[in-house]
Symmetry: C2
Subunit: 301 residues, 2 copies
Amino acid sequence: MAKTLVFGHKNPDTDTIASAIAASYFLNQIGEETEAVAQGTPNAETQFALDYFKVAAPRVVTSADTDTVVLVDHNEAAQSVDNLADVTVTGIYDHHKFAFTNATPLYIIAKPWGSVATILYYEFKQAQMAIPADVAGLLASAIISDTLLLKSPTTTDFDVTALKALADIAGLEDYEAYGLALLKAGTDLSSRTDKELIDGDAKSFDMGGHQFRIGQVNTVAIEDVLSRQAGIEAAMTEEGYDNFLFVITDILNSNSKAIFLGETTAAVEAAFDGQLVDNVIDLPGVVSRKKQVVPPLEAQF
Amino acid sequence: MAKTLVFGHKNPDTDTIASAIAASYFLNQIGEETEAVAQGTPNAETQFALDYFKVAAPRVVTSADTDTVVLVDHNEAAQSVDNLADVTVTGIYDHHKFAFTNATPLYIIAKPWGSVATILYYEFKQAQMAIPADVAGLLASAIISDTLLLKSPTTTDFDVTALKALADIAGLEDYEAYGLALLKAGTDLSSRTDKELIDGDAKSFDMGGHQFRIGQVNTVAIEDVLSRQAGIEAAMTEEGYDNFLFVITDILNSNSKAIFLGETTAAVEAAFDGQLVDNVIDLPGVVSRKKQVVPPLEAQF
């Protein structure tokens, strides 16, 4: 009997990889047989965390070769494996909006917290199960990544408590210094092609029948990224989505600008109460796609 | 600011009423302001439990007059209040299949256990919160109701453990004797009209584009119910659903028969590997709509 696969969303980020590894460990401890996998190779930030805590990257899959799967950090089919409809979802750990259908009852633990890593920390705590130091280090990295070192408006008190406890377990004496190094590792964009830049963290959404692709990069200098606008727009056009919003986030000053190409210009301008100038719109104070980009866009449709 | 409403599905059963009351109590204890309500008056079984533990029936609503709601024992819009799309769902406690969409992240605790009451028992336990005796009595009644005194195939070890612990807290010295009295209170069908019979526990489902209504009654004599077949069929026809399956369950012998009126005869016969004779199909061993009726039907579409 094949193991249950545990995996996060396409274009894996640190929370998706860390949560798959931690959830698989947790489930194996309570008697399940699971394997953490990923729908892609780690990005530079995640690789920094894996190297730091000496954990191997999960095996890459594009479809599930088992009968049963557990989803972490996503629940929508568009962000999951290609053959999701052919396998049975037995569990979900997530912190996103929900759009999920299943023919049989299943386990779902979803909470509107900053990261799935935080949810898993509390699952370990409730089960009174010890978290190995390397797993704790990855979970701490995931909280830092998703909350931009507890600065994102998605941050909850639970994330703060979990990060401090996990940093202790992982032996991270100065989690802020580690966190800045981790975030900066994810912002070296010079070595990435335009296509890699827009694909790196992109997710697909259906908004009232309109197909939306929303990508995001973190940087310490928005203008550096915008200096590549022509190439980035060519790469966005080539992907062929009806609407593509590429959010460029300054993680030091907690601001964003976005490049938009698509058919729903008026809706995008209304969602963010701004104007597209040369396809670029200002998003002051915006750092969270989930909390500050997707909901106002959805409200337009 | 209006309270958050906590409620279960249309045609409330004992698990839906008990779970709304218990979840509202739990949430109020952790600082929320909630009110347990119901989408209908208690059925005879639920009223027996409310009377026994001296708890008032929740206020009846057909739409939510608040901005925020918590769903218990259901997640599908067809089983919820009429204006669900206009309010924000902030939490779900459920044990059914999932078909739910939400624009923002929310709390979801779903487990494939016998009753939502069992899930709530473990939520109280994890929070180390005492359960009042009357609430414990209602939760015990809900487990008895949904698992037919732990005999239904939906029963898990968690339900067994929870029922025994809740019976202790509630001061139920012989929960089996109480359970039989509770279940029998729900099987006195003679005073109910044909329409009340088919509507009592009915739920709507969308199965691959086919509209399905599935009702169920518990009895100690299936033939007594079938003696009213002509009147029951007339009531079913009058409701106007494309497909109506009315399941009659013998709670003592754990068997069912069903009356079916609709357009998908072949699918129903294939789902249950039997033949409709005079609109009646034998369902040997079937007691659970959720586990033994809905999944095989869905597999046909």
